[in-house]
Amino acid sequence: MTAQPTDIATYNFAYLDEQTKRMIRRAILKGIAIPGYQVPFASREMPMPYGWGTGGVQVTASIIGPDDVLKVIDQGADDTTNAVSIRAFFKKVANVAVTTETAKATIIQTRHRIPEHPLSAGQVLVYQVPIPEPLRFLEPRETETRKMHALEEYGLIHVKLYEDIAKHGRIATTYAYPVKVEGRYVMDPSPTPKFDNPKMHRSPALQLFGAGREKRIYALPPFTDVVSLDFEDHPFEVQTFDQPCALCAAENVYLDEVILDDHGGHMFVCSDTDHCEKRREQGHRGHLAPEIPLALEKTEPAQ
């Protein structure tokens, strides 16, 4: 291959062309106006594979501007490979400032977690969604599930949850736990652990959900009622952990289990890496915290 790149292929600012952005922007506005309803949109191929955040990336690319500060997390962490890759993509195509600090970000793109630090008004949380249809595994046909949403016919999902209780004594859904939005649409919160469900309820931030492969966008405006489905005798409850974070001693946060050796040794640490670092900077120490102080670059301005 010659060393000189040719102009055989060139790309637009923020990757998407303006017409595509307009189409996605229109879908976002409809999503906000009909909370929890999945708006079909003509999802584009993106330069990362379907299933790797193309929906979230399209939403972020359509809303982002030069003054935004972007944070990208996967599994709650800023340093997981796919989060690094998506962050690098936006640095490259939109030249925006990026950060790992939840409080400093104006747009947070996430896969599988909601940050522990409470979100504030003016922030936008963009979720990457693999399967947006909460009824999909009960009814594979789009033609059928669309009818169910239209008629507000959600018996099926209650039956499924109830069967869980009959069989296992509890609701055996631990992530992607369905919610009801403003008493109308049943919505899939994306595969976040149900631990995060209460954070969606009346959040001051705008929450946008993008499913690229399935071509759906949906939204939760700020201060929107989001209620996890349950039964009177089996109320919704979140996971609890028996021990605090081994690094920062945080309690009531979601923890990752890290395997330390092959003799059953393990430790539990914060899944939200920013939250954990912040606490350690403030002097909180878990029983396995390393001695070395943290010195991490957290925000990089636009070039």
């Binding site: 291959m1 055989i8 292929a9 790309y11 637009n12 990757y15 998407l16 062309d17 595509t20 189409m23 079909p40 003509a42 999802s43 584009r44 191929e45 993106m46 330069p47 594979p49 379907y50 299933g51 790797w52 996967d74 599994q75 709650g76 340093d79 997981t80 490979t81 796919n82 989060a83 690094v84 890759s85 690098a88 896969r111 599988h112 594979p140 046909r141 789009e142 033609t143 509890r170 055996a172 631990t174 992530y175 992607a176 595969p191 652990p193 149900k194 071509k215 996971q239 690094l247 979601y254 990752d256 289990e257 890290v258 330390l260 430790m267 899944s271 670092e277 396995l288 390393p290 070395i292």
Partner: protein, 370 residues
Amino acid sequence: MYVAVKGGEAAIRNAHKLLADRRRGDRSVPTLRLDQIVEQLALGADRVMSEGSLYDRELAALAIVQARGDMIEAIFLVRAYRTTLPRFGYTRAIDTGTMLVERRVSATYKDLPGGQLLGPTFDYTHRLLDPELAAGGEVAEPEQRAGEAEAMPRVSAILAREGLIESDGDMPEDHVPGDITREPLAFPMARDIRLQALSRGDEGFLLALGYSTQRGYARNHPFVGEVRIGEVELALDVPELPFAVPLGSIRVTECQMVNQFKGSAKAPPQFTRGYGLVFGQSERKAMAMALCDRALRASELGEDVVAAAQDEEFVISHSDNVQATGFVEHLKLPHYVDFQAELDLVRRMRAEHDARENAGKAEEKREAAE
């Protein structure tokens, strides 16, 4: 000791450097040029153009090299580029009846106007590996056709004259064809939309589904009315001009499948059509597409939907290999947050289960002792 590392960025950079190294391979071997791929791996480039939905041989060749010959990866590269291109307009529908035909075969007639034309086909080659090719031997010039080619009416038109085949679609006059790259798919879909999805669908997936119809999973009694390959002209209507502007020509493969049909409450006994059209030269894909198209018309023709190939949502939702590969391969991304949630649940349920078992055993023991 666990220490949170910020190594992701460096790891990715290094992985991609290694990829570039492996792609180049042994530096003493000359680099592949795009024109070599365009000329000598032309059918590979055709598949990339067809499933990438972008007619550009050079970009297809670039994608093939960049993907190290991984066809789905190459198709993905082309799609991700195509999607950023602004839309200037829509050409007039191509007329395959006026095609400059290089190959045309019909299985339904021994001879017909325009004749059978074998063209550059693998058919009837003996599949013996050819050491001469490896040696890079000279290739003789092909024979040229003497004189002007005869007009080549489509077989479907011949059947239509007798009224024995259904008319060519029932779209209203003013129907504006949809565009699956611009509008979200909705089910059920009109046939124009379905055909677009099939045309960019994965060759292997459509081949397997087409094959399944032949083996009795929604058999549709197909005959290859005609397969034709060649160049067709493209023309664009420009509002300011009184005539359509010619843009050049593209090479396509078209398959008209003729299917026996006994008739239904809605339609008289007649032949029905299954249609396949793809960029470049790919009979396998065009024929598989035509089989699937016919199978997917089951509801329209009042047939029972009994097999996978007839199920529109199933076929169209799973035919796109860029979508399929992304979602299958995304399983290798970290899922440890969700796994942790499941782990916790299974541990708790297991503990309850063990407690019940032990309580039961203790009870048995006590009863035995009494």
